[in-house]
Structures are given as C-alpha cells and as structure tokens.
Symmetry: C2
Subunit: 247 residues, 2 copies
C-alpha cells in the first residue's frame, strides 16, 4: 500500500488574501458548460458578484478532508483530484475533476474529501453559505447541480466495480479508456495523462509498480504505445475494451 505522505506543498493557502482581477462571465471559458450556464444574465451577474476568481498552482490543496465546508467552486481551467485517506496515510483518489466541473460540498457542514490541484488551475470560488442561499432561490441552478451530482454518483458507483472486482490488468485498461474519453485524443490517438503513476495507482487502488508493469505488458502486446512519461497512444482500442470488462 501507498505509505507515501503527500505533504501539502503550501502552508496557509493564500486563496483568501490574494486579490484577483475581477472578470466578467462573458469571457469565461466554461460559460456554456458550468452549472451557471442556464442562468439569466442578471442572475449570473448576481452569482458572479458572490464569487471570486482564484488561481492555483499544481500541488496546492483547496480543501481538506473533514474540514468545515466553507467554499464551493466551479473549475474554470485545470485538473484537480478529490481524495480521502486512512489514518495511516494510505490515499484513495475518489474523483478527478476538469474544467467546468463543480467542486466542494454545498448544503453540508463538512468537506468529505480533500481537493488538490494536479495542474495549475483556475477556480470561480464561492463562499458556501452565499452559494447555498443563491442556489435555494434558483431552481434551475439547483437542477443542474442535481443533474451533475447524479452523474457523479453514477460514475462513482461504476468505479466501485473497478475497485472491488477488477484485476490489475482490467483496472489499467478501464482507466486508459476512461481517460481517452475525457481528454479526447489527438489525431494520432495519443493522450497526455494529467497524472503521475502514483496518482494513477491511487485512483485504481493499487501500487505504482503494478500500474507500471501492466502498462509495460500492454505495450509489449502492442495494445498501447508509451510516449515519454505521460503520453499514451491507444493502438488497439477494441482489445483494451475487451480487457476492461473481464473478457
């Protein structure tokens, strides 16, 4: 098991103090995909005034497991991980979020997992109380949040099958396909993983060595090709699909 402690790479998070250039929703890159999409212009302005734009560096943690739920946010840009740990430091990544996703625990007192930037990232951050109040008054926002939460739950439950019942080979195959779906591959079919081997292991509930071995074996079989440290080309997608479900 992973006994490596991911020491937070920041002390007091400068989120609260750093003044951010105010920016309108008009130029927002996730304007048409985030949960605020359907809001009327005045409503979106009102929500925008509640929130602040915030920049994170790779490795920074925005929320810690068990902390009071103080903020929620839209991800404007970048990739972040959601994780929980056992008392002795074994970590399980319980979600990876991308641009336009929503993070934090609305309508609840505790943040049940930590949120850490994997790449540099930008957030549109809201104090939870204000967001909750706003959402209560805006059924369409709440509806989109519900939709998203239901989708998250479906995805999370599907992942439980992987964690509980799949072999290492199946786990890695499933992971690669899942990543290919989210980060759409370039013309050559190559994806650039936003995760280290350790983080992949923490997603799959296995070890770094096992991930590495399975990747090497898939390469040996000509099913994938490895391009540098983080690049993977899915050569034989059908074979991967077959492996992902136990044959």
């Amino acid at each position: 098991m992973n006994m490596q402690f991911d020491v937070a790479q920041n002390g007091a998070l400068p989120l609260m103090t750093r003044p951010c250039a105010p920016q309108s929703c008009d130029q927002c890159g996730v304007r048409d995909r985030a949960i605020c999409t359907d809001l009327s212009d005045p409503d979106r302005d009102a929500l925008s005034r509640i929130g602040r734009r915030v920049t994170l560096h790779a490795g920074q943690t925005v929320m810690w497991e068990g902390d009071d739920s103080m903020v929620v946010a839209n991800v404007i840009d970048g990739t972040l991980k959601l994780a929980t740990s056992t008392g002795d430091g074994r970590e399980q990544i319980v979600g990876v979020v991308y641009a336009s996703d929503f993070i934090g625990r609305p309508f609840g007192a505790r943040t049940p997992h930590s949120v850490t930037a994997l790449t540099d990232a930008r957030l549109c951050l809201f104090p939870r109380g204000s967001f909750d109040a706003f959402a209560r008054d805006h059924g369409d926002l709440q509806h989109r949040l519900l939709q998203r939460t239901l989708d998250d739950l479906d995805r999370t439950r599907a992942w439980m099958l992987l964690l509980g019942r799949k072999t290492a080979r199946e786990k890695v195959a499933t992971f690669l396909l899942d990543m290919a779906r989210r980060l759409q591959a370039d013309q050559a079919g190559t994806i650039e993983l936003p995760l280290s081997r350790q983080q992949i292991a923490d997603i799959l509930g296995t070890t770094i060595e096992t991930v590495s071995r399975q990747m090497s074996e898939l390469k040996r079989q000509g099913i994938i090709a490895l391009v540098g440290r983080r690049g993977v080309r899915l050569v034989d997608g059908a074979a991967l699909e077959a492996l992902a479900e136990g044959v």
Copy 2:
C-alpha cells in the same frame, strides 16, 4: 473472485400488473423521513396520485443495470441492494438502501445499476417521466433529492477508500460499524445483518471465505460475538473502530 451468477429469481416482474390497494400517505411509515416530507398536503396528494404502492419479495429485482430508467421509488419498508457486474458475472454491491431511501435514476435515461430486494419490501413507485416533471415544479422536493444525492455521493466515496485501500480485516470492521450505525443495535448491542455472507463479500469486494475468516478472528479476539447466522454483537466497539481505520 465471485463467479457465482445470481440468477434473478423472477421472470417477468409482476410489478406492473398487480393492483395494489390504494393507500394514503397519512399512514405511510416513512412519511416524516422520505423525500416527500416537506410537501404541502395538496402537493403530497398530487404526488401520491402519480405513484403506486408495490410489494416485493426477497430476491426480486426491480430494475436492471443498463435498462431504460422507467421508474423511481421511495422505499417504504425493507432492504434492497444496488449492484453492478462485470461481463463475466462478478458482482459489486454499490449501495444498500433502507426504509425512507429513494431509488432509481431520475433525470437520466439509463438505470446504471440493478436494484434487488434483500428482504420483502414495499415501495412507493413512480413512473420516471411523471416524477421528473413533478420534481421540476417542486423546488423543495428537488432540494431534498439533491441533499440525499449529495449524502449518497459522500458515502459512496468514503466506501471507495475501503474498496481500494483497506485490508480484509479493516473492511469487515468498517462494515460492522456501518451496519451498527444504520440498524441501531438492541440493548444487548446485537444487530441482525440483513445480508448473507456472500452479499457482505459483494459489498466489501472480497470473498465469502475471507469474510467468514475475519469474523471468526474478531470473535476469537473477543471483539465481537456471533449470534446465529446473521446476528452479531459488537462487544468491543472501540477496538473495532481502531481496526476500521488502519490502527
């Protein structure tokens, strides 16, 4: 891994054809806990008219993984499991639901997991389309559904840590504490598990033999006592808590 195929114990489910004695919400046992709680009397009546009361026998499956999402329901009484399987029949239970819980996939085309009664059960069943429409018009209902879905997601993510990172011992200890929390123990501290060893194994992502061995070992250490097949007395709760988190 569990290669045992759980053959559905029913052919065509007689849900749709069996006429149920109409029953008002007044006598409903979960009236003050289900998602419909906060509705005004006329609203609740309107919702009630959309739904039907349905009785299930232990072993009956209400929804199958991958099927079109046709119905959603409140659980009035009984215990049900939510499960997914790999192509070759390995099963992972992704949730256990009790009286007052909500089942099914609103606002989505597919049911992502099967729902099967573990005990005899009673449901308050709604056609999905009608329920969705009703929920859209009733922000308070939608809010409760959101609350519940967020809680489910938190619980599910916590379970990922168990599946991905905990040892067999820790899994069983965590499971017993979780069950004790839900089924509040009687005066002697004894709980009656609503699950067979196989089902426990399917929840914990392990095998029946491992569950049995870990239970026996906990008994030998005087941490629990086994009472018949399904009874467990938590003798030393603190020790269990310690085991549940890796020491």
